[in-house]
């Protein structure tokens, strides 16, 4: 059974803290993605990665960074958490295919920044 796992389902942090969100996939997928989901705004892409050590900015990268040292793991880092980063964070992965790029999602991490 294919799987994308995220390190925490719920996380509460304080303003200014450094926050790490971890995502692991077991499908040997080349591509991994971080989204945030807010009511009325749908899913917005923060960063994605095509390969180990490769990263590309998405639509809303400000305030975030990422790390991909191993193929199966993609980390999202909030260098100094702020209250406007309170959100649901979703990780996804996909294989390399020309026309079919179905994404597999983790269960999400609901982050609250106080």
């Amino acid at each position: 059974d294919v799987k994308v796992t995220q390190s925490s389902r719920y996380l509460v942090k304080r303003t200014g803290e450094k926050v790490f969100l971890e995502c692991v996939q077991d499908m040997d997928h080349e591509n991994m993605f971080w989204y945030r989901q807010d009511p009325g705004l749908g899913l917005r892409l923060i960063y994605f990665s095509y390969d180990v050590k490769m990263k590309e900015k998405g639509d809303i990268p400000e305030g975030y960074s990422v790390s991909r040292e191993k193929k199966e793991r993609f980390s999202l880092i909030l260098e100094s958490a702020s209250t406007n980063q309170t959100s649901m964070y979703l990780c996804a992965s996909s294989g390399w295919a020309r026309t079919d790029n179905e994404q597999f999602f983790g269960p999400g991490t609901r982050l609250t920044v106080l």
């Binding site: 994308v4 649901m88 390399w96 026309t99 079919d100 790029n101 609901r110």
Partner: protein, 112 residues
């Protein structure tokens, strides 16, 4: 900016009825996908339709794509209470095979 916009934003129907959701997008696409999200969970892929296809079926799901109108619809037939969820369309732009852009979603409630 969002590529896909779903319509309606919310839909409430009785069990057994059909549910139709629409998605409009702005630029040329490689394919369009539909996903389901149960409350507070990750998204699950439902169906993918390529830009050269007009209609696709999967079980109780029927998807249509009209590239001239830049729109798609998802039809769920004989709905069940378990279909209660949010549904999102996602588009993959021509030439950008791996990155997809999600719409804002339709929240479907199926009343038993």
């Amino acid at each position: 900016s969002q590529q896909g916009e779903e319509d309606p934003q919310a839909l409430s129907i009785q069990e057994g009825e059909n549910a139709t959701m629409n998605c409009s997008y702005k630029t040329s696409i490689n394919n369009l996908q539909w996903y389901r999200q149960n409350s507070g969970r990750g998204l699950v892929h439902l169906i993918l339709i390529r830009s050269n296809e007009r209609e696709k079926h999967s079980g109780r799901l029927r998807v249509t794509l009209d590239t001239s109108k830049k729109s798609s619809s998802l039809l769920i037939t004989a709905s069940r209470a378990a279909d209660t969820a949010s549904y999102f369309c996602a588009t993959s732009a021509s030439g950008g095979y791996q990155k997809v852009t999600f719409g804002t979603g339709t929240k479907l409630q199926v009343i038993p």
